[in-house]
Structure formats: C-alpha cells, structure tokens
C-alpha cells in the first residue's frame, strides 16, 4: 500500500467518499417531497454532514500542506494526471472552505424557501470533488474531466428551484453556454495534442520549447483554451451567462458558483498559462497571453462595475460584483508573467479573501430575508440597521471587505494585487484597478446607505430576517475569517507564496 499516495490525495478522497455516503444517506432518508415543517426536512440531516465532510477535506488539505507533499512517498505517482503540490492543496483548501460554507447556507435557505430536497448536498459535494480535480489536473484530460464533474453538478444546482421558470431558464442558459465553452476548451486541447503530441501540461511546454511544430495549430489552440477558461471565470465578454445564472439559482448555489467554481477555474488557468504556455514566446508581453489577459481584465473590471452600479436587485448587483472581482484577479494573473511567485500569491490570497467575503455577503443577504419577505431590492433593506443591527453589521462587514476597505481581508487582497501590478511595471493596469474599486465602492456603500440611513416607505414591503443556526454559524465563521485575514494578512500571504507553482 502506498500510504503516502493516499495521504496526499486524502482531501480529495475524503470529499469524494463523503459525497458518496451523503448520497446514500439521502436515498435512505424518508423525506420524499418538500416539507412544510422546517425542522424535519432532509437539510436538517444533510447540511451538517456536508459541511463536516468539506471542512474535514479542508483540514486534510491544510495538514498535508504543513507536512509537505514532497515528503510523502508516492505523492507524485498520479502525476501528471493529478499533481499534488502546495498549489493544489491551497486551492483544495479554499474550495473546501467555500463549499462547506455554502452548504451551511443551504441548510438554512432550502427549508426556509420550501425547496428542501436532499439532492442539493451530494451535488454540491461532487461538484467540489470536480473542482479539486480541476485544481490538481496536470493533464488536459483530467482537466476536462474535473471541469465536467464540477460543471454538471453546478448546472443542476442552478436549476434546483424546479418550480421557478427563472431558475430553469438560468440553468438552461448556463448549460448551453457551458457546453459551448467546454467544447472550445476540448477542441483547443485536441489541437494542442495534434501539434505537440502531448496531453500533459509539462510535456506540452517541453514540445513548445523544442519548437519546430505547426505554429498555426498552437496559436488557435491557445486561443480556444484561453476562451474556454475565461468562460468559467466569467471574464467579459464571456460573462453574459453569469448574471442570469447567479440570479436564477438559489442563493447558496449562487455563492457556491461564485467562489468555488471561480477558484477552481483560476487554479487551472494559472496552471495552464504558467506550465503549458509559460515559455518566453507565449508569455511574452508583446505577443503572448499576457496582453490578452490584461485586456480581458480591463474589460471585465470596467464593464462589470459599470453595470453593477445600475442594478436594482442586490443579488444581481452581487453577481456583477463577482464578475468585477474576477477582473481584479485577472490583473494578478497578468502580473505572473514577470513576478512569478508574488503574482500567483496575490491571486491566491485574493481568492481566499474573496471566497470568505462573497460567501459572507450572499449569506448575509439570505439571512436578511425570510419566506415572503425576501431581501431583493435595495429598498427592501431600508432601515435594517435599526431593526436588526447584528444582521446589518455583518452584512456591512462583508460589503466593506468586498469594497476593499481596510482593515478587512478584501483590502489586502487588492493591496497585494496592486502592489504586484506596480512591481511588474503594469502601471496603467493598477490605475484602472484603483479607479474601478472606486466605482465598486459606490454600489457596495449604497447598500449601507439603505440599511443605515433610510426608512422603508410607508406600506412598502421590507425584508424580515430569518432565523437559522446554520446561516448564522456560516456568517460567524466567514466574519472571523474576513477580520483575521485583515488583521494578520502576512501569514496567509506567506502560505500563498510558498504554494506558488515553480517557474
């Protein structure tokens, strides 16, 4: 038995086996249909189990990180299909934390909104498995496999509210465009295999360095793969599915998509760009992927922030905000061409900060509304600061973190990205990023203005917070993480620097 191998992939195994067990538990539970009583639905049993599974996965990832995968005998046996290095483990940790928090949110949300069906939890867990595989994939085949495992689950989660036309429509759109993007990615992978004779990323790079191949095929393949990945991180102009899908999906699924799917996509984007296409010609500022990523970053930040400012629905605003954050992260991705470790570390730190802040913001939005009195528009939140100070306070905390106000996690995320951009000599990009975060502050603070400085118009509906131990505990965990990352950013940044891929 290769203990080292099993130990090193233990985060993945824990989540996968946990998912299978949850699936069985769900099948054998007695809940068939949507329940009237909130305490007796499948969520009461499964939410906690899912959270435990995923948090255990996170703990295992952290443990393996600290032991060091290079010390475990056999940890590289699965390479290049699955590469277990600190990079993978960092993302596995982020993914598990994001998934765990999302399942806690679901534990409160699904019963409250009468869509309490147990499939949610296994789907979420298997999606997380796919995300971890995606982050670990060192071969385009496993990459595609992970992408599909992750995406199929998420398509189903998006359409989870079966009765709602909007949810179904969102799911359908996401599925169609997702398949389109996956096809592009797969086509790119096929072409690159045709050009280089390799499917593993390191082999592709070696073949590209050696030269003497069909340059046309390679360039088209690079185009297709970048577009396929840009779809998953919802970069403009490949973002159009995002607002619809995010708004139509039940909020816990939205938060899962916003953090887990995005983290995994960024992980694989970094790996593809830096490992497969990392040789000087393709990572050249003149004619390689960096100017493309930089342009995508500028478009993504600007377009998303401009549109987000005009939204009337808070959830849709958060959807656009998550697109905008992808733009900020893309700036970090661009910097990796010059600052290898620091650039990656800024991306990873940002993703961690973004994960807890975004989950928190969506969770606070869930907590703000109960069935029949949901928090949809800004007006619904009027006077919340007066009626429910605690709920409003945590909501403010997460929004301030997303806006990048010190001393929250989000501030340091932005700080490190901007620092990287300046260090890499990308001054215009850093200026655009700063201008955009000013734009962003506008719509985040608008929520605060409504919560603290408005009263609901007489007779107008307003949000009544729900009561849920699950949601509350998720918010407390996320809030602690946001504050801790803001107060002690250096430690986690060092962790991220050590996790960076070798050049």
């Amino acid at each position: 038995m290769k203990t080292g191998l099993y130990l090193s992939i233990s985060p993945l195994l824990v989540v996968a086996l946990g998912g299978a067990l949850l699936m069985l538990a769900e099948a054998f539970s007695h809940h068939r249909e949507e329940h009237e009583s909130r305490s007796a639905g499948p969520s009461s049993e499964l939410a906690l189990g899912t959270a435990i599974t995923l948090f255990t996965g996170a703990i295992f990832a952290a443990a393996v990180w600290f032991v060091g995968p290079e010390k475990l005998d056999g940890s590289q046996d699965l390479a290049p299909w699955l590469i277990i290095d600190r990079f993978t483990l960092f993302f596995a940790f982020t993914i598990c934390v994001g998934g765990g928090l999302a399942s806690l949110l679901a534990g409160g949300y699904l019963p409250e909104h009468r869509i309490d069906r147990g499939e949610f939890y296994p789907l979420l867990t298997f999606s997380s498995v796919g995300a971890i595989i995606l982050a670990a994939a060192g071969d385009v085949l496993t990459l595609f496999l992970g992408l599909e495992i992750m995406s199929l689950g998420v398509y189903a989660l998006t359409g989870f509210r079966r009765g709602s036309a909007r949810s179904t429509e969102a799911s359908m759109k996401y599925f169609l465009l997702g398949s389109f993007a996956a096809a592009l990615l797969l086509y790119g992978a096929a072409l690159i295999y045709g050009a280089t004779g390799h499917t593993d990323l390191a082999g592709i790079r070696a073949a590209l360095v050696a030269g003497n191949l069909n340059y046309g095929l390679v360039l088209i393949a690079v185009t297709l793969m970048i577009v396929g990945l840009a779809f998953k991180i919802s970069a403009v102009p490949f973002h159009m599915w995002t607002p619809d899908a995010y708004e139509g999906a039940p909020t816990p699924a939205t938060s899962f998509m916003a953090v887990v799917v995005k983290s995994a996509a960024f992980a694989t984007m970094l790996r593809v760009l830096l490992v497969a296409f990392g040789q000087p010609e393709l990572s050249s500022w003149g004619a390689g992927w960096p100017p493309i990523i930089a342009t995508l970053a500028v478009l993504t930040m600007t377009v998303a922030n401009l549109i987000a400012g005009r939204q009337e629905s808070v959830k849709r605003m958060l959807a656009y905000s998550s697109i905008a954050h992808a733009g900020y992260i893309l700036v970090g991705v661009t910097t990796t061409m010059r600052l290898h470790e620091d650039g990656q570390a800024s991306v990873m730190f940002y993703l961690l900060a973004y994960t807890v802040s975004t989950i928190g913001a969506f969770g606070a939005l869930i907590l703000c509304g109960s069935r029949g009195a949901e928090a949809v528009s800004y007006e619904d939140l009027s006077g919340l600061g007066k009626r429910h100070p605690a709920v409003a306070l945590v909501f403010s905390l997460f929004l301030l973190s997303l806006a990048g106000v010190p001393p929250t996690a989000g501030f340091f995320g932005k700080l490190y990205i901007v620092k990287g951009a300046i260090g890499a000599g990308l001054y215009p990009l850093s200026v655009i990023l700063l201008l955009n975060s000013v734009l962003g502050a506008y719509y985040y603070l608008r929520v605060l203005v409504f919560m603290y400085m408005r009263e609901p118009a007489p007779g107008a509906p307003f949000a009544r917070p729900m009561k849920s131990g699950y949601v509350t505990s998720a918010l407390v965990l996320a809030a602690v993480a946001v504050v801790a990352l803001g107060l002690f950013p250096t430690t986690s940044l060092e962790v991220a620097v050590r996790a960076a891929l070798a050049p």
């Binding site: 299978a20 699936m23 069985l24 769900e26 099948a27 054998f28």
Partner: protein
C-alpha cells in the same frame, strides 16, 4: 492532397446523382394528392395525432442508466483480458470502480428511477 482528389470526386458525383434523382422525380412524377395519401404510413392502421409525439421522460432515464452500465461493461472487457497480468491490484481497482457504480445503483433504486409505474 492529390491523393484525396478521387475521393472528393466520388463525393461530388454521389451528391449530384442523388440530388438529380430527387429533383427529377419531384418535377417529372405525376402528382395526385388525396387526404388518405398524405397521412403518415402506419402499417395500415389509422394514425392518431401528429408526427411529433413527446416520449415519456422515463425512456430517457432508462436509456441513460443503460449507457452508464454499458460503459462499465466496456471497461471490464480489457480488464478481463488482462486479468492475470493485473492480478490483485487490478481486482481492487475494478472492485472500487464497480462498488462506486453499485452505490449509484442503490441510489437510483431507492429514488425509484427503476420503477416504471409511479
């Protein structure tokens, strides 16, 4: 490229002949349509409803379950051929694969996907 020219030519000739036959028959053939003649042919029995009928979703479910187990069997063939070389390691690997599918089978069973009448 030159090697493919005869093939291309063949495609071309095939397309032209087929197209020509259909076009000519529709132009030259006598037409005398009656309502009975325009009805879909169903082995002589009276046809009911339009041409497009939505089959029950259960067909799809059964079909997809079949595909899953079909692929399982496809994977088992090479393993069975190499059974001796792979030895116990192969047995364990295939065992875990099959048991995963068993879990899935239990799930669909409990969920009632195998019951036709519900």
């Amino acid at each position: 490229m030159a090697t493919y020219v005869p093939l291309l030519l063949l495609f071309l000739v095939g397309a032209v002949i087929t197209g020509a036959l259909f076009t000519l028959s529709s132009i030259l053939g006598p037409k005398n349509p009656t309502p009975e003649k325009m009805m879909p042919y169903e082995c002589g029995s009276e046809s009911t409803g339009g041409r497009f009928v939505k089959p029950s979703v259960k067909f799809y479910l059964t079909a997809i379950l079949f595909v899953v187990f079909d692929i399982e069997v496809v994977l088992m063939y090479p393993w069975a051929i190499q059974f001796r070389t792979l030895g116990w390691g192969g047995m364990a690997t295939m065992g875990s694969f099959v048991s995963l599918l068993v879990v899935a089978l239990i799930y669909v069973w409990k969920k009632g996907a195998l019951e036709w009448e519900t």
